[in-house]
């Protein structure tokens, strides 16, 4: 295994520039401590405005009612559920990179996992807003939790919405724990390098008294691996459960057995797209990151997108095939209505964004072109949003009883809330960049050690232009 990695590393270096252990620490931990670029202020400001918009949208919503949205009968779920599924999907990349790629020993994950996990947590926060506030009476939404009460009234556990509550809250909890666990040695480094008293104290508190002792490292390694193991099934479970919101129902277009794997693939697809959307500008904003998130990382992420994109596209083809093969008039009509019905534009936008555009990633040139990748990743994000639109709205708007058919048009308030969550997300990402080491320093150094100074010898490191000059691995916090 180590050999394979090394062979790959020869061709696709994971580090750029002249690295030392100290330099890795310096480069990454210095970012929160330095003066931030003007762009940070602008982007944070935009995000803040968005977050306020979100707040106001929610206040207005609770004060006035769901009527401010475009939902109706028959389309009783609209933007809220679309956005919920979209954000949850985006929140998939983090855990996947952290857990599954860790278990699969994908060395390249080390440089993006912290970033992706942070993105996951913020995305799940955004997602969580929607199911709570899409209820007609959010002030009693706590009834979805099994809180003991003297009426002995429990939630109805057969409902997939109830499963959602558990799946999403578990996912969020484990993601936060996992992220925080990885942060502890790095926070200790921050504590030790802090220039201000406040930073020292705060980082010190969150570093939980990390003293860099061997037993700390041992315990930490064990805990980290355990959490990785724990979150692995969650990667599959959370979006499978979300897909069951639809699959359990009897609505044509929702009642589809391939939904769980299809949703998980779609989630990974969109998650990687979002990582790219964020990483590319962050690399430009913080050039220090370019040594660790190399063009190779970007190339690999593009390849993952291409692969998962095909799984998703296969899902679309399956739906078409099932529609025809089922012999069921409702399913057949569903396909016809998707192709030619009043929302045809959304369907063909989906096929264009998720089926056709990702095929550009076959070309290595495009995978090396940051601008093209950035645009493609945004298109994929849009496409994945349309996928949820197609599933949620286009299935509901024309189901069994033609007399009850209707149309759905989002209102300004739908958009406001949606853009508000994007603003909140941007704000949180920039807060993250401001206060927390964006990459996992300890893990990167470990990787560096394993690659170039591991017990298997020096490997191909000597041929590498970024040959390390430091003689020995150094612990954190020096």
């Amino acid at each position: 295994m180590q050999q394979t990695i090394k062979a790959e590393i020869k061709e696709f270096p994971l580090f750029e520039g002249q690295q030392t252990y100290e330099r890795i620490t310096d480069q990454i931990t210095s970012i929160p401590m330095e003066r931030h670029p003007m762009a940070w202020t602008i982007m944070f400001g935009l995000g803040l405005i968005g977050a306020f918009a979100l707040l106001m949208a929610l206040v207005y919503l609770v004060a006035v009612g769901l009527g401010i949205w475009g939902i109706n009968q028959p389309v009783a779920w609209g933007f809220a559920i679309i956005n919920f599924v979209w954000w949850i999907g985006i929140g998939h990349a983090g855990t996947l990179i952290s857990a599954i790629l860790l278990l699969l020993r994908q060395a390249w994950r080390m440089s993006i996992n912290r970033f992706a996990e942070a993105m996951t947590i913020f995305a799940v926060m955004c997602a969580g807003i929607f199911p709570l506030f899409h209820t007609g009476r959010p002030w009693v939404a706590y009834w979805l939790f099994p809180i003991p009460n003297w009426l002995a009234m429990w939630p109805q556990f057969r409902s997939p919405l109830e499963w959602d509550v558990w799946a999403v809250s578990t996912y969020f909890t484990v993601s936060v724990l996992f992220w925080y666990m990885g942060l502890i040695p790095d926070l200790a480094k921050m504590r030790d390098r802090a220039k201000s008293q406040i930073s020292r104290v705060l980082n010190g508190i969150f570093a939980l008294g990390w003293r860099n002792s061997a037993i700390h490292w041992l315990r930490w390694e064990q805990a980290y691996l355990l959490l990785a193991g724990l979150s692995t099934p969650l990667v599959l479970s959370v979006h499978s459960i979300v897909s069951l919101d639809f699959a359990i129902s009897i609505v044509p277009g929702w009642h589809v057995t391939i939904f769980p794997p299809y949703f998980v693939a779609g989630a990974i697809f969109s998650g990687f797209a979002m990582v790219l959307t964020l990483v590319i500008p962050f690399r430009i904003l913080y050039p220090k990151l370019q040594d660790y998130i190399t063009m190779n990382h970007i190339d690999w992420m593009a390849k993952v997108m291409l692969a998962t994109g095909w799984i998703v596209f296969y899902g679309y083809l399956c739906e078409m095939f099932f529609g025809w093969y089922s012999g069921n008039q409702f399913e057949q009509f569903l396909v016809v209505n998707r192709f030619f019905g009043p929302y045809w534009a959304a369907y063909w936008a989906l096929i264009f964004c998720n089926g056709i555009v990702p095929q550009l990633l076959w070309s290595p040139k495009i995978r090396q072109n940051l601008l093209a990748l950035f645009i493609i990743s945004i298109i994929v994000n849009i496409g994945m949003w349309f996928e949820r639109f197609v599933i949620v709205v286009m299935s509901l708007h024309r189901d069994f009883t033609p007399s009850a058919w209707g149309m759905y048009t989002p209102t300004i308030n739908d958009w406001w809330l949606y853009l508000g969550t994007i603003g909140f997300f941007i704000m949180m990402m920039f807060v993250f960049a401001r206060f927390i080491p964006m990459l996992a320093v300890a893990e990167l150094k470990e990787l560096w050690y394993k690659l170039y100074h591991g017990h298997n010898g020096h490997g191909g490191a000597h041929t590498h232009k970024s040959k390390p000059t430091a003689p020995a691995p150094q612990g954190g916090g020096q």
Partner: protein, 1042 residues
């Protein structure tokens, strides 16, 4: 509390009635000084207008409050359920009547603690037979309308009755010398004997005064037609039970015409088909646009109104009926064939057939129909004639013209308009009442609303609602109902027309006394028995022996020679194509008098499914010819903006009169003509009605009130948003000219068949609906809902179920409004309907089948199906919708958090969601309307039909107390009770004797979307049609056997 209430009521009345009283009252000054010593002086000396208004506002509010819970005046007599006296939470029923379509329909008002909340049909009343129509159901809302006029106005400023009385005595005094030559009274159609007597008394005092009656929708043509045929004005009454073949020409006798509720029942009785039966009546309808009658027809023919005369004359000719007429125009091949077949069918059913002509058709056409009926021997069998039920039958169009002439000649000095008559809005446009009324020096408008006419008058007098006073009204056959008050007047300053006339006659009195005195004088019964007869009459809601006797009639000449009117079909300018315009009363707001009734506004119109609007309806061909059809994006794709729906604005103009209106294509409409409903475009109807729709009266003239030819149509660039509750697929860009049906055709939604098919195969096994879709799913579970009947034969559970028979459903929507009234269903308004958020628990689905030119229509009421395997229950995360032990799919409003997942998973989409706080009512008076048995739902909560569970509970309580089971027929749901055709049957499925059980055993019972195995408790009988095999029968057979 009681004392305070009395006190405030007293004070309120005192403030309210007269400013002078208020100023002078020493008690008031005393109170004021005690309370506000510093303010007493200025108010005592001088009251500004502002202060006056403030006081008035306060007293109005107090007066409104004090009204609740008070007993009506006079000895009202209840129809007691148990117990006999009033009990809190237990309702009483009082018989009374409302005017619908201009004539009385008997109702029972359900009253809780002095406030009526619901109307039911009066089974003893000849028009109602226990059922109602939608308009009747909705009239309870008018009672509580916050926009009702509450105060006397002089030039728009508040005044007192006393001031009016003084002023009017003065004005009348000046007329006394001239014998009242300058006095004109304008009323609507007067069907109240006591009111007519008061008016006659007034006319005796002022012999030169004149009394005119005007209704925009009137029976002029019917009476004149009878005169042409029989030599006198007569009112035809149909005996539809005896009719095997009915040919209705431009007549909506099942919905808008007087007696419709009764006719619908009689018609349905000849149509209900059960296993083993082989006979059904057959209905032929020729009309320009689908009506409720037309949608029910077996053979429908779209034809311009002006050609009906030609068509009918052709039928007469083929039958050899003794009539000679000059009629113009040529029939097309289709029309010719239709006439032949209809004539053949009529000839084969002598004495048991009927030709009906609508109110809009000119008298000559009615005369031809009478000749045919006489020729076929139908007189006295399927149609009888009585004297007109009006107290003073007149030709309304002539009356209004004469009044206009009088006004033009400045012959009118005192104009008294009684009973909400509104000529400024609804008189023919050529008479120009808007300019004529202000010319009168002393004009009085008396009505429930400060409407268009009131705004032009010197005086406005607030009218009380019929549920607040005593009165008497005649039904279409003359039967008199004594109207009992159901509530103490909500606004104490209102008076009925009867009171106003009594006042003008110088003999004011309480309405009870006025009405009773009249009937004493009219010798309702010998004096000794009067009390008993009166008591029974008031109790039953029907006065005995008041129906008009049947008159023996014969054609006045043989052959009958009539001159049908010639319609000018040629355009004014040869280069411009012109169209024919047909006016019709609106299916819900009628002639505009119900324009401020939100229930009626929001009720989807039976044919078009449009609410809150009237539109210019035309055929698709005409719509396209006018270039109004919007082009689709690309050939293959549906245009979202079109599906959402808005309509192009056009200008209709003829002879210098013009109006803007939105054009809307509708299947089955005749080409080259436009149907326009009256009753919209009001400017002073109230908060709900003002500004809705387009005013069709602008094009109506006194000479051609119903059919207008030579109308130019000019498309405009604007588009108009239309609220409708059903998407239409008429102008689908993919389907050139055909109704887009591919989405519905193969769906197992409605099972249809022809009578011939039913006779051979009552189960209709060969229909695709049966094939593959409706099968018994194999299961190892015991039958969950019936097994305990065998284990426990004495006390098994109830299993509530409903069976609906679309064969007799006319789509009249009475059930929908009844459901709304019973279940406190809020109104959401046009905007919200356009967003697809109407709240009606019960809807009527309407599907077209066949060519757009003349499709077949299928309708079925869709309540909650109460599925045994309910998809909604599975997905609710908080168990807010659950099954009860009797099979009801219950909705626990308090538990609902509003995820709306249940609605998404409901294949029938019968659930409704409170997107806003729809139940909120600004005006507290509307709270009185709420049915106390049903929860008022708040914001963010899902709601739906629960088979009127409150009625089930009521029956259960009663049954338990009497230690017995609930009897079959004891629980009647609101929709079932209102249904004029008794298409809805509800009951206990576990009881083998119950009607619902027996209906479910019918071979043609089917389930909507049976393949989903949701096992709905609501099932349907197949819609059986009886088209003539010679006409569309063969084609229809092919079409239904897809």
């Amino acid at each position: 509390m009681e004392a305070t209430r009395k006190e405030t009521q007293g004070a309120g009345e005192q403030f309210w009635r007269s400013l002078s009283e208020l100023e002078q009252s020493p008690e008031f000054e005393e109170i004021l000084k005690r309370e506000f010593p510093s303010q007493a002086a200025p108010l005592g000396d001088f009251v500004s207008r502002r202060q006056f208004l403030k006081l008035m506002g306060a007293s109005m509010a107090l007066a409104g409050l004090s009204a609740c819970g008070y007993k009506p005046q006079g000895p009202v007599i209840s129809r007691p359920k148990t117990p006999t006296d009033r009990t809190v939470g237990v309702s009483n029923y009082y018989a009374t009547a409302v005017l619908t379509n201009g004539y009385a329909i008997g109702v029972l008002g359900r009253v809780y603690e002095g406030r009526p909340v619901k109307l039911e049909g009066n089974p003893d009343h000849p028009t109602s037979l226990g059922a109602t129509d939608a308009i009747t159901q909705a009239q309870i809302l008018d009672l509580y309308d916050p926009d009702r006029s509450q105060t006397v106005l002089r030039f728009g400023r508040p005044e007192t009755w006393r001031a009016f009385e003084a002023d009017v005595q003065n004005a009348l005094g000046q007329q006394a010398a001239k014998g009242g030559a300058g006095i004109r009274i304008l009323t609507g159609r007067v069907v109240s004997p006591s009111l007519a007597a008061q008016i006659q008394k007034f006319l005796q005092t002022y012999p030169q005064a004149k009394w005119y009656q005007y209704e925009p929708v009137n029976r002029d043509n019917v009476y004149e037609g009878a005169r042409l045929a029989f030599g006198e004005w007569l009112n035809p009454i149909y005996r539809l039970r005896n009719a095997k073949v009915i040919v209705a020409l431009d007549s909506d006798f099942l919905y808008t015409e007087p007696g419709a509720v009764r006719y619908a029942r009689e018609f349905a009785d000849g149509r209900r088909i059960r296993a083993g039966q082989t006979e059904m009546n057959r209905l032929y309808v020729a009309e320009p646009m689908f009506t409720v009658t037309g949608m029910t027809a077996d053979e429908h023919l779209p034809i311009r109104s002006s050609k009906i005369a030609r068509l009918l004359y052709e039928i007469a000719r083929l039958l050899g009926a003794p009539v000679q007429a000059t009629v113009e125009g040529e029939l097309t091949e289709t029309e010719q064939k239709w006439a032949q077949v209809a004539a053949g069918d009529l000839a084969a059913h002598r004495g048991e057939s009927l030709v009906i002509v609508g109110e809009a058709q000119p008298p000559a056409v009615h005369a031809i129909a009478h000749a045919i009926n006489a020729h076929l021997g139908n007189l006295g069998k399927t149609v009888v004639f009585t004297a007109p039920p009006e107290e003073k039958p007149v030709l309304h169009m002539q009356d209004i013209k004469q009044l206009a002439d009088d006004l033009k000649n400045n012959a009118v000095e005192v104009l008294i308009m009684l009973g909400g008559v509104n000529p400024a809005y609804n008189a023919p446009a050529d008479l120009n009442f808007k300019d004529l009324i202000p010319k009168v020096p002393f004009s009085v408008h008396h009505g429930m609303y400060v409407d268009e006419t009131a705004a032009l008058c010197v005086w406005h007098l607030p009218e009380s609602h019929p549920f607040e006073t005593w009165g008497d009204v005649r039904a279409f056959d003359g039967t008199v109902t004594i109207q009992q008050p159901l509530i103490f007047p909500l606004y104490p300053n209102t008076r009925s027309a009867l009171e106003v006339m009594a006042q003008l006659n110088g003999a004011p009195g309480e309405t009870f006394k006025l009405v009773q005195d009249y009937w004493k004088q009219a010798k309702l019964a010998p004096d000794a028995q009067f009390d008993a007869v009166w008591r029974k009459g008031v109790h039953d809601g029907v006065l005995p022996r008041t129906a008009k006797p049947v008159t023996q009639v014969a054609l006045k000449q043989t052959p009958l020679i009539v001159q049908a009117p010639i319609y000018e079909l040629a355009p004014v300018q040869a280069s411009v194509k012109t169209y024919e315009l047909r006016f019709a009363p609106d299916p819900t707001v009628y002639d505009g008098r119900f324009a401020n009734n939100a229930w009626l506004q929001e009720l989807p119109k039976p044919v078009t499914r449009v609410c809150w609007d009237n539109l210019a309806y035309m055929s698709l061909k005409t719509f396209e010819a006018l270039g109004l059809r919007r082009k689709g994006t690309w050939a293959f794709f549906e245009d979202a903006s079109f599906v959402k729906g808005d309509a192009p604005i056009v200008t209709l103009s003829v002879n210098g009169q013009a109006m803007r209106v939105a054009a809307y294509p509708i299947p089955g409409h005749a080409d080259d003509c436009i149907t326009l409903h009256l009753g919209y475009g009001r400017t002073r109807a109230g908060e709900k009605g003002s500004g809705a729709g387009f005013n069709a009266y602008l094009l109506r003239t006194s000479d051609s009130p119903w059919i207008r030819t030579g109308v130019e149509v000019v498309p405009q660039a604007e588009r108009y948003p239309v609220a409708r509750t059903e998407e239409h697929h008429l102008i689908d860009t993919r389907q050139k000219g055909d109704i887009h049906l591919d989405s519905t055709q193969h769906r197992p939604i409605i099972l249809t068949g022809l009578l011939e098919e039913f006779k051979q195969d009552p189960e209709l096994k060969n229909k695709s609906h049966r094939k593959g879709y409706e099968w018994k799913h194999p299961t190892m579970y015991p039958e969950r809902w019936t097994y305990d009947r065998y284990e426990n034969p004495d006390n098994y559970r109830y299993a509530w179920a409903m069976v609906i028979d679309p064969t007799v459903c006319t789509g009249c929507s009475a059930c929908v409004t009844a459901c709304q009234a019973e279940n406190n269903i809020p109104v959401v308004g046009k905007e919200e309907v356009m967003r697809g958020r109407e709240m009606l628990w019960l809807r009527i689905d309407r599907y077209f089948k066949g060519k757009a030119e003349n499709p077949r229509v299928y309708q079925m009421p869709i309540p909650c199906m109460q599925c045994e395997n309910a998809p909604c229950e599975l997905v609710c995360p908080v168990a807010a919708t659950v099954h009860d032990h009797e099979g009801l799919n219950a909705m626990v409003y308090n538990r609902c958090v509003g995820t709306r997942y249940c609605s998404n998973n409901c294949p029938y989409k019968v659930r409704r969601f409170n997107y806003y706080r729809y139940s909120y009512m600004k005006s507290p008076v509307l709270h009185l309307l709420q049915n106390p048995d049903v929860t008022v739902r708040g914001r963010g909560v899902m709601e739906k039909c629960t088979y009127c569970v409150q009625r089930i509970s009521k029956a259960r309580i009663l049954a338990k107390r009497e230690n017995r089971r609930i009897r079959d027929g004891e629980v009647v749901t609101a929709c079932q009770q209102a249904c004029p055709t008794q298409a809805i049957v509800f009951g206990d499925l576990n009881d083998p004797q119950s009607r619902v059980h027996q209906m479910r055993q019918q071979p043609h019972n089917f389930t909507i979307l049976g393949e989903l195995n949701a096992r709905p408790r609501t099932t349907y009988l197949a819609k059986i049609d009886n088209p003539n095999p010679e006409l569309s029968g063969a084609e229809a057979s092919h079409a239904t056997d897809h």
